[in-house]
């Protein structure tokens, strides 16, 4: 007996977005990263074309990060450079083989350190000089200062193909203008909602941001904390995109580390909760599992923290992409 294995094909495909610019293209990055381009369900190489592998970015905070969010397990790895993002960037590139980094400007937050924009931009320039991988620049949240800061980053590092995170409802215009003027990518963030994601993409494209310069951040609910919503919203967006909806066809980015290391299930030590097992491995697996299952839902870029979690997910991506 032989069976006919179903082969699902789709009219639509995902846009290809390029992160970073090399010398030939006017920048100074050592390599460019392309994501997207697939015309199949996530990792379904057996029935479609998946030209680029999902990539992982190392997250690097601009100032020493708070302990409640960057817990001892992650701090231990970066302990000598917690307040030196330049050294931190070099470490992840040189020691852990980072192909992409995400500089997270938490210190600019007016509720925290309120670092001036000029200092933030100065830091970004130092990092651009120190490492040659493509860079994502993430603001602290929303607000005018956040948009201004990201726009300034785009301006000062024009030509490097940096990625700005994130344009959100109400605060997208400044960033959209900057992305167009300085040839940057733009992350479009919406709160776990299929329709809002599409609406923001429409607003951005209406402002003439090209489709191949937009990444969708569906907002990552942490494992155990709204994860199921993110998972299904991503599946639905991706199905619509493959079905031919060009306003949904952008690659996904998920900020995984930020939703991992602050949760109770990761922070509790084995001394406090013996049946939960070693907090180190538990935390690493929490981050790796969160990322890995999001790959099944369609993630193209995962922003993560712990090098071991990253290495494990990379290993799995290799296995999916081989042959």
């Amino acid at each position: 007996m032989s069976i006919n294995l179903p082969k699902k094909t789709w009219p639509g495909s995902i846009a290809e977005v390029t992160l970073g610019k090399t010398k030939e293209n006017g920048g100074s990055r050592g390599s460019e990263i392309v994501v997207g381009g697939q015309n199949a369900l996530p990792l379904h190489l057996f029935e479609g074309f998946i030209p680029h592998r999902p990539v992982i970015a190392f997250e690097i905070p601009d100032v020493e990060p708070p302990e409640n969010d960057w817990t001892p397990i992650v701090r231990e790895v970066y302990k000598d450079m917690l307040n030196d993002p330049v050294a931190w960037s070099k470490l992840v590139v040189e020691k852990y083989g980072a192909k992409l980094i995400c500089l997270h400007f938490i210190g600019a937050n007016p509720d925290r350190l309120d670092r001036p924009i000029a200092e933030c931009v100065g830091l970004l320039k130092e990092i651009v000089a120190a490492v040659d991988v493509p860079i994502i620049v993430q603001g602290y949240g929303t607000g005018d200062k956040n948009s201004e800061m990201l726009a300034k980053c785009a301006e000062e590092c024009r030509g490097e193909g940096i990625t700005l995170a994130s344009a959100v409802d109400e605060h997208y215009k400044t960033l959209a203008a900057a992305a167009i003027a300085y040839d940057c990518n733009l992350v479009a963030e919406t709160p776990i909602d299929v329709n809002l994601a599409k609406q923001l993409n429409i607003l951005l494209t209406d402002m003439n941001v090209p489709k191949d310069r937009i990444l969708i951040d569906p907002l990552t609910g942490g494992l155990g904390y709204g994860y199921e919503y993110t998972y299904s919203v991503m599946e639905r967006i991706r199905l619509q995109a493959l079905g031919g909806d060009v306003m949904m066809c952008m690659p996904f980015i998920n900020f995984v580390g930020q939703e991992t290391w602050k949760v109770k299930e990761v922070k509790m030590t084995a001394a406090e909760e013996p049946s939960w097992g070693s907090e180190k491995e538990r935390g690493i697996l929490w981050e790796a599992t969160t990322a890995y299952a999001l790959l099944q839902a369609g993630s193209d870029i995962l922003v993560m923290r712990h090098p071991e979690a990253i290495a494990q997910v990379e290993k799995s991506i290799d296995e999916f992409m081989s042959k």
Partner: protein, 450 residues
């Protein structure tokens, strides 16, 4: 797939005789499609109609039950590829291994750890589903003795992992009827295993690395009287797991091929990196596996894997709202802080996770704002100062605390004045805008206040 009203109508006599109690055959067909009536009401229904409707009502993936009693595991009956289309019903059963050649004490300790692997999370119990007894000794008597120990010391169903039918038979004999699932049958041993399973009411897994052969074997095994069958397509790489599990689900839902309408099994090999092994389990959970056997494990894998399973098997049609009322994070007491928020689930999730992270147990008073986030609710007039103030008083929180402070979200600082008017004698504190700043807020504002 379920038949539509029109498809059913074509199978009916189309005489509109009204015997069924409906004015037309079409009206009756519509009710049948909605599963609100039974075909018996039509005296003239043909055998063909009966057969077609009967087949359509059988679920595309058979329901399989493993073990007996409280901890019986039910699998199958799935109807979708994507959980948002309906839901995933019967969550992936996780069976953790224990080798039959461990020394007595270690063996018992291992079984106990598996028994105890259950946790309270978000108001639900999440737990490991089965004990997988792994045949290492190669000895029927030893394997059976260990099976007896598992039966006597664990309430969970047993997965007997052996490729040898005589060892499986020996273990089944000492553990009794409906004790669990036999894992180890291949094309060569299928008939022997089927006989053991059928005559002792055990479930069994049939394995083949060829999807074609798997379907044939499944049909044969069912014909041999096995009621509860699972199919294991094997794998070499993670890409194979994704492919095989996805294709089995698709073929089953399609109903065109026989032999694939069974829950699937994923048996993870020994000797692989524990992180990779855990990721394979994750893949089984997201991609359709009914039973996952993990022979080697660590207790730090439990929470991430069980939480993922809990999330993926949550009904996606569950509204994005929590009920109004008082919630606890940690074990708050009369001196703990009180946070006010709306009943949008995601707001609630984020808030509770940050409070958790702050290390300071707290009460949350959730105001019913029709599932809107704080700012949206405020703009829509569902989160005004007077309303919120009254709702907080009505919640009964005053009886739970000795102090008179409540913390409102920074985004709605404007409602402070009205709340003060509505809640005389209370101190309305304006918290941070973003939940992520709560730990800092607790440290810088709340704790000094205390």
């Amino acid at each position: 797939m379920a038949l539509t009203g029109l498809q059913i109508y074509k199978l009916l006599p189309q005489t509109n005789c009204k015997e069924c109690g409906f004015p037309t055959c079409l009206a009756f067909a519509m009710k049948l499609a909605a599963k609100q009536v039974s075909l018996d009401l039509c005296p003239d229904a043909s055998d063909e109609a009966k057969a077609a409707l009967g087949a359509a009502s059988v679920p595309p993936i058979k329901k399989v039950s493993i073990g007996s009693g409280n901890h019986r595991v039910e699998l199958g009956e799935e109807v979708v590829l994507f959980r948002h289309d309906k839901t995933f019903y019967n969550e992936t059963a996780l069976a953790l291994g224990v080798a039959d050649d461990l020394p007595d004490e270690e063996f018992q300790r291992t079984v106990k750890t598996i028994n105890d692997a259950n946790f309270e999370r978000a108001g639900e119990n999440i737990a490991v589903s089965m004990v997988a007894l792994i045949d290492k000794s190669g000895d029927a008597a030893a394997f059976a003795a260990r099976a007896k120990t598992v039966k006597d010391t664990s309430p969970l169903p047993i997965a007997l992992v052996t490729e040898d039918p005589s060892r499986a038979a020996a273990a089944v004999e000492v553990t009794g009827e409906a004790g669990g699932v036999l894992c180890g049958a291949t094309a060569e041993t299928a008939a022997d295993f089927a006989e053991i399973a059928a005559s002792n009411k055990w479930a069994m897994v049939i394995k083949s690395n060829s999807l074609e052969e798997l379907g044939e074997l499944a049909e044969k095994t069912t014909a041999a009287g096995v009621k509860d069958l699972l199919i294991d397509p094997g794998f070499k790489t993670q890409a194979d797991i994704l492919h095989n599990q996805t294709q089995i689900r698709r073929i089953a839902l399609d109903r065109k091929e026989k032999g694939y309408g069974y829950p699937s099994a994923l048996s993870i090999q020994e000797g692989i990196d524990p992180y990779q092994a855990a990721l394979l389990v994750s893949l089984g959970v997201t991609k359709y596996a009914g039973l996952v056997i993990l022979p080697e494990w660590h207790n730090w894998q439990f929470l991430p894997l069980l939480t993922l399973r809990q999330n993926i098997y949550t009904d996606p049609q569950k509204p994005l709202q929590v009920d109004g009322g008082i919630y606890s994070v940690g074990e708050p007491n009369e001196n703990s802080p009180v946070y006010i928020s709306t009943n949008f689930s995601l707001t609630y999730f984020m808030l509770s996770s940050e409070i958790d992270g702050s290390g300071e147990a707290a009460h949350i008073v959730i105001i019913d704002a029709e599932g809107m986030s704080v700012l949206t609710a405020w703009s829509a007039g569902k989160f005004g100062g007077e309303q919120v103030g009254k709702a907080v008083l009505a919640s009964g929180i005053a009886d739970k605390i000795k102090h008179r402070h409540v913390i409102i979200p920074g985004y709605v600082a404007v409602i402070k004045g009205e709340m003060e008017d509505a809640m005389k004698g209370w101190d309305i504190m304006v918290g941070p805008q973003e939940a992520s700043d709560i730990p800092a807020y607790v440290k810088d504002v709340w704790l000094p206040l205390k």
